[in-house]
Symmetry: C2
Subunit: 149 residues, 2 copies
Amino acid sequence: MVTIMNKVQANAKPAGLRMTRQRRLILEELDAPGRHPTADAVYQQVRRRIPNISLGTVYRNLEVLSQAGMIRKLHIGSGQKRYDRKLHKHYHVHCVQCGRISDLPGGPFGDLEEVARGNSDFDIIGYELEFEGLCRQCKDSSPRQREPN
Amino acid sequence: MVTIMNKVQANAKPAGLRMTRQRRLILEELDAPGRHPTADAVYQQVRRRIPNISLGTVYRNLEVLSQAGMIRKLHIGSGQKRYDRKLHKHYHVHCVQCGRISDLPGGPFGDLEEVARGNSDFDIIGYELEFEGLCRQCKDSSPRQREPN
DNA sequence: TTCATAATAGTAACCATTACTGTCTTGGCG
DNA sequence: CGCCAAGACAGTAATGGTTACTATTATGAA
Ligand SMILES: [Mn+2]
Ligand SMILES: [Mn+2]
Ligand SMILES: [Zn+2]
Ligand SMILES: [Zn+2]
């Protein structure tokens, strides 16, 4: 009866994934478009509805959901991992001032992989590309501190 | 927080840094071309000559040397940071099997930044690009475990 | 409704890195 | 050369992010 469960099974990855309240809220938190929250940010949000949810539960679910291909785990910069519900290939811009991460509109660039293939004896299977810069806010306001996503 | 960076730029030369035995060996460890060791790998190597060197000393020096612009700190993938003596802009290939990191021969690609600038309201100042794949060894041998750099 | 087992809360452990502290070195100056 | 301020050190504790463990609870297929 519940659509999300159907979605899970429609997405066809894992038998044996149960849809718990915790998991549903974590997923909903990522459903808002354009967000790339850290595990802790998800935790803080979900905590408002399930005050005693465990941080471990958040981590476990983020892992299990990305294993199942329902979300993507991002390793951007040197800090915490980020999670992204947008599954198709796209690039990110990372504000070096406040840590904000935004999608870069516009599809993937020309074939970087091809160039790499010609120059390496590695069997190239992909690449990671992310841009760095200053977001609009940080560009034209006095330096603030970290207020990610 | 006035330190080495300033001194170095003032003196136009990495003097102002004292040259200790520890620092020299750490630097020598990175001088071997094509290496991208982790802090721990450097530690293990230098330890053979200075058995009681502190891991903290290795970290402190790697930090101070990259602040001074004598080495570069790399954040590749989700694991430990890597250090690179090669200062000019170049790309890396990362073996997803064994973790090895190699330089990609051939200079920087065309203007990725320009494309990003057109698509974002961020003030783009640079980008990080790294390729993933299987190194020669992992490509044609049975799966091994992590034996980085 | 039952029941095997997936998932949870709570907590401990882990790993990479950084911070602290008292002692030892280094190197510029005489 | 030796002096000595402060840079660097070893040893160790602390931190931050993440994962592992465990006894208990909740899910959902039959
Ligand atoms: Mn995204
Ligand atoms: Mn390199
Ligand atoms: Zn910003
Ligand atoms: Zn390999």
